[in-house]
Symmetry: C2
Subunit: 360 residues, 2 copies
């Protein structure tokens, strides 16, 4: 990666925490939000990390578009189900608390589902799914997001990139952690090519007239992303169906905004994002040790199976991210110069200068 500066993880988290507390976020909540944001950079998902501290969170808090002090409201609660109103709080904090309660409930009930309405952009979906891992549970985390993706045979963005995250523990192997946008790529990936002045692989998105394009400017400026699978012939309607599914569960079931009504975090107005979380206790279905042994055996068999010519490795979902996190914990988290600049600008605006020393 060119033009990056590396920072110590703990220092970065401490800075982001200070940033949030200065904007009236309670200390504990600020620590949660900082942990979610920096964890994205740590796992190499830099599109969802501190790059968004300024526009998605800082600006919205300053403009009172996010309310960090309103307590989350419980709309309905039973032993295994929980419907919450996030009270327009920080998405990370609302999601963390919802998933924490979901896990507590699943410990007794064997499984639990929590829906959340009236929330905000919550960062990486995988963070909350992974909260289930230390409890020997399977974690699921879904959220809707602002419209960027076209339906199959549709011309305009009508769906979000609505991610699906599922975390499943293993024994000696790393856990399985799927964390995927239901579009081919998230919009941040297209923006990376746009900034670099490069063309995107054909198939990721279309222009305003509905033609496939390799020009990132046309996708971002009036076009749309394509759902996973791409064109109908290659079954893009399955990706469209998955994106819609995520919105039906996290938007409609939760009673949040859905479809084109989900707010863009970079815009004015209440976002009313919806989330869906689930936790499943493995022990209720079979002994945890047996389960983990089978997980290890399965994941090893996959990785050891014959490779395509020119490839020497088959990855399990989450594996690359665990390796990056280990590396970045030792060597520091790399941030692009422009991200560092945006942190400096964000910090200066609220009187919390970004003064961390890069490593080396």
């Amino acid at each position: 990666m060119l033009n990056t500066l590396s920072y110590r993880v703990d220092e970065l988290k401490a800075y982001v925490t200070r940033f949030f507390t200065t904007l009236n976020v309670p200390e504990i909540d600020a620590q949660i939000a900082a942990d979610v944001l920096v964890s994205a950079d740590l796992r190499g998902v830099n599109s969802h990390g501190v790059i968004r501290l300024h526009t998605y969170y800082g600006s919205r808090l300053r403009k009172k578009l996010i309310d960090p002090l309103s307590p989350i409201k419980t709309l309905n609660e039973t032993a295994a189900t929980l419907a919450l109103d996030g009270a327009n709080g920080l998405g990370q904090v609302v999601a963390y608390r919802a998933m924490s309660r979901c896990i507590e409930m699943a410990d007794t009930a064997g499984l639990a589902v929590a829906t959340v309405r009236n929330s905000n952009h919550f960062g990486i979906a995988g963070y909350y799914a992974m909260m289930a891992l230390p409890e020997d549970m399977i974690g699921i985390s879904l959220t809707n997001s602002q419209p960027l993706v076209a339906a199959t045979y549709g011309l305009k963005p009508v769906l979000g990139t609505n991610p699906i995250a599922v975390a499943i523990p293993a024994g000696e192997e790393q856990p399985y952690v799927l964390d995927m946008a239901t579009s081919i790529v998230p919009i941040g990936r297209v923006a990376v090519y746009q900034k670099a002045g490069q063309s995107i692989p054909e198939g990721w998105g279309m222009d305003a007239a509905g033609a496939l394009t390799d020009d990132p400017n046309k996708v971002i400026g009036g076009g749309a992303l394509l759902p996973l699978g791409g064109p109908a012939e290659l079954r893009g309607y399955k990706g469209y169906g998955l994106s819609l599914l995520v919105d039906l569960l996290s938007g409609v079931l939760a009673g949040a905004a859905f479809g084109k009504e989900v707010g863009n975090p970079a815009n004015q107005g209440r976002a009313n994002v919806g989330h869906f979380f689930a936790a499943i206790k493995i022990e209720n279905f079979r002994p945890v040790m047996e389960f983990k042994q089978d997980m290890d055996q399965y994941l090893r068999t996959l990785k050891q199976s014959p490779k395509l010519p020119g490839h020497d490795r088959i990855y399990i979902h989450g594996e690359k991210e665990f390796e990056l996190a280990n590396q970045y914990l030792r060597e520091g988290v790399p941030l692009m110069q422009e991200v560092v600049d945006s942190l400096k600008q964000a910090g200066d605006e609220i009187g919390v200068p970004f003064d961390l020393k890069p490593i080396k």
Copy 2:
């Protein structure tokens, strides 16, 4: 469709029921299995309908590879979780009973999950998900299946086409019914091109050396299907991740076979297929009427949104199948001549001649 004969739905179900009872399947179970099989043809999913009566079910019952009389065993049961052993019964019967109990439990607990080990090929996954609809619940149905799909960067089939089915009720609109293989296409789709002597769209599968091919013979004879998304550049590892997810939930969590060990229903030996079912009661999250109004509004907005040039319709998942079912209920279910021939052969083998009169 060329060379098809149409049959009345009720007569077809009655014949399949008779077929199964002759093979020692109890009357009620035979009715269940017949309903699942014929429902596939009725919804236009003819790859999973009576075309498989001979090889997948009839032959296996005759060879005692499926045991239609052993009662399902409960391994563990709590208010919201259920772990079952299908006792190597007919997949349709085992799945129907598991989902029925899941729905009963969800009526009290608000949601429920049931896993099943030691089962067999269960037909269309969507059938069981749709059982939740009349109860104002969301239904989920997953199953693993024999290896046909390559992992990203992998050369050999290591995963099944492992389908995901989710059914969500609406108000005046038809329900949302997603029922998708996690490969680009199921193997039956490739077989249709093979039989017709046609080439397949490039991207669906690869040959034994790992090269993309448009030759269906090479995919079926030693090659592999590609996961949804296709190559890595277009994010086929997401489809790979979804296929793996289905197997981790329906195979590993259930304690069934998984990965390459899942039995091919056309082969000898115990299949030990695994399933995963869930039911979620909408009322526990928000009033059902509000939910259905939002569903209707969302689905209409999607269908009315601007279309791609050359297209005049955006479909909701399941919509085409509901329309076909309505048509076939009136006009009869069309079966290809070769399917009729296979029914005749299957019937003759067990002394239950397929003697239905086609319509017209």
